[in-house]
Amino acid sequence: MTEKKAFQKVYTKLTRITKATCSVKATGAGYDELALVNGRLAQVVKIIGDEVTLQIFSGTEGVPTNAELIFLGRAPSLKVDDDLAGRFLNAYGEPIDGGPALSGKDREIGGPSVNPVRRMQPSQLIATGIAGIDLNNTLVTGQKIPFFADPDQPFNQVMATVALRAEADKIILGGMGLSNDDYLYYKNVFENAGALERIIAFINTTENPPVERLLVPDMTLTAAEYFAVEKREKVLVLLTDMTLYADALAIVSNRMDQIPSKDNMPGSLYSDLAKIYEKAVQFPDGGSITIIAVTSLSGGDITHAIPDNTGYITEGQLFLRRDTEIGKVIVDPFRSLSRLKQLVIGKQTREDHSQVMNSAIRLYADAANAKTKLENGFELSDYDERTLRYAREYSEKLLAIDVNIDVNTMLDTCWMLFGKFFSKEETAIKNDLVKKYWPEQPVK
């Protein structure tokens, strides 16, 4: 960071230094304003009288008490214009791809919220070809939804697949604490798909200081707002991994001596996360921001403060699970949920979508019960046996993440499975629909 203007007042006496912050006697600093401390970027987090406390993003290691401190007179910002497309940037919005410096107009990040009465109701289906998503948990533009996944699950691969199939005008990746390998994976996948000109990435890897991550979501969403508002584009934002973002929040709040609430997270975690996720929006004139995020779990525990607060904010969540029966990763139909699916199911998709989806899942649940019975050493009824055979095929033909078919084919596949394994009553679907879609020749 080199940014110095003539006649700026330089402070050279720090009164306090902690692991992440430093304080200085100064007047005229604005809240949230940026400063440079010996060239390191810092931001004002507290002002009491003439003592200003700043958080230094890259950490305070080696910062001396006589460091040069210059206030920049502005909040963190990003240079936005059409040339952002195709660029890979760091958490400060500076190029890391060897390309030229950004030349666009400075725009403050973390800008104001959309007036709720100006929002449009999300209504455009996003097709991904994955039945665990399109059939059971349909995504809609303007939605925000995370993958809740354990670190060993292939969430980055699934997210990249979804991003590329989703037909977005721009895909903006916010990588927080991304391993260098995963960063290169994303880069390669996008390159190989020939999609680089649609991609913008803000990358903070594990090699960068954790506090820098705090800038990534706002940078990402500021770029997204530029394309969605001014260019009326369909923007898909990928945020991975939000758990590491929240961890960085906890570090800062801890060093600010704040009283932690549940799981040592700051009491403001809900609002902090909501400010990010609520940037997902369908604008009135066609542009939209859709957010797909990753919240990594520890041992599948969704009651931890991070996934818990996330679940209350986002419009559903997607769970991945390895189905040992078929040896593939599936989108878990029980725990996954897309809250906005009702806006498109049966409206942009076929009339039988809702009932078929519910019955298919209910029968799959019956299979899970049968499996428990089996494991407990009980005998299975004929119905139990049939649900088990059904579950295997349902999992293989529909839930597996390597499936790539359209929604009607998914529905037809369900009807085929119903006909193969069950009687009409057992599906408990409205008679009108059964009459219309029940397969005439049961498949043997």
């Binding site: 507290k46 002002i47 009491i48 104001p112 919220s113 007036n115 709720p116 009465v117 949920l337």
Partner: protein
Amino acid sequence: MLTKGKVHGIIANLVIVNVYGPVSQNEICLISHDNTKLMAEVIKVSRDQAFVQVFESTRGLRVGSDVEFTGSMLEATLGPGILSRKYDGLQNDLDKLEGVFLKKGEYNFPLNEDEKWEFTPVVEAGNMVEAGSWLGEVIENWLPHKIMVPFKFSGSYNLKWIADKGFYRISEVIAVLTDESGKQYDVTMVQKWPVKLPVKAYKNKTRPFRIMETGVRVIDTLNPMTEGGTGFIPGPFGCGKTVLQHALSRQADTDMVIIAACGERANEVVEIFKEFPELIDTRTGRKLIERTTIIANTSNMPVAAREASVYTAMTIAEYYRSMGLKILLLADSTSRWAQALREMSNRMEELPGPDAFPMDLPAIISNYYSRAGYVELVNGSTGSITFIGTVSPAGGNLKEPVTESTKKAARCFYALSQQRSDSKRYPAIDPIESYSKYLEYDEVIEYISANISSHWHENVTRARDVLMRGREAHEQINILGDDGVPIDYHIRFWKSEVIDFVILQQDAFDKIDCVTPLERQKYMLDKVLEINDTEMKFSSFEETASWFKKVINLYKQMNYSPFESEKFNSYQKELDKMLKDISEI
């Protein structure tokens, strides 16, 4: 002379102000910042410093900025024109704000100052009046909106003059009152009331007795809500809290619905904005939006205004209740409001209570719930505020402080269960965990006997018992295996499943099933209990299951058909036959 001050410190949205004069707790002040003024509320005073919470982002604010105190607390502006409006937590009219994005420091007047209302006086000059007395009436949308003596007036007054029938703007004087000493007071159609204080302009508060029909079977049949009652819906995310609240706001038998969207998703509010102007209230034939006011302070809007939003909503509810109306107030979610309190308490470095929430959280919650209720007004007519809040327990754990504090304050408990939700049994209200204290009220039992049926109360208790016995049988089956228990256990279990599938579960997205009038609920409960009372024998548990599955399927088809339609009756016939056949074996 209003007090002035200067900004001394800034920690996020907590600002410390050096004050040069008297200030009061909860007084509103305005902080000058870049040509705008940011509204803030005093939450603590220490020597000559006031700690204020700013209802906006403080980005860019500097030490030394000017602060003006206003001399009043946060007040709601009450008058004709509130109905159908969409406000933020500070009662700014969201439709009047320009641009797609919210701008810092932009506030507006919540009513229309130019609109003329046709005022009809209802009392004559010379009468004695007091706070809350009806002076006249204007028609707002369709609602007879009473113009009252402002709630701030204490004692009795002589009505010296009242305007003739005619068209007036809200700011025009429509009555003149004189007090004992002969001092005169002008009354207009608009008044202000500090949102944090309850409106007490009524004679007394009585116990609720009348059932408030919601069309949701698991509520009306098993855990009824009353007019003027309180209830809360706790549940982990994804259990259908919001769907349930929306169903209540659409279907409840009430004059007016006020929705406080407090710290929740913006898209959920958008859904209401989009659907309510289109949906028809079947009872009145009017659009739902015509009876609804929305206070939206979504999760990305300023945190401090969340607290304000629930109080603003309650104050508006109290205002309309004073007109003799039935109000349903919904707040989603009170946990977000509690979290806003926690954030602030934390910044003020107060000693924390459990989970870092402020120590007085239970008191704050119970004070708030106590503002609901069924009241007898000063003129003898009645009005009610029914309040239902949602709670978002951290980690789905019902032992957390907000849920526990709310449980002490609310009379109905609608527990959403993760397990029911996972098996897609919606609405996921757990029939055994949930309760309505109103079922124990003699007044309510009496009302039910007189208005629904004399057996109703008894039937409801029986249905609960069947569910309980069914759950026990199910546990036994799970432990001992299908073959390990007598077939009676299976029958008992399946009898409870019939109630579960037919009464408890309801498809909120089906046009017919989504709302069930009380009369139909009574019919269905009788029918289901008929099955329960039938002695039956099966040769195997498989046979039991398949017979009951058929029964359930037929009942579900009935639920999807219009009441007493041809289809409905034909399913009924088929069921009757099945029942006859089985009881003859």
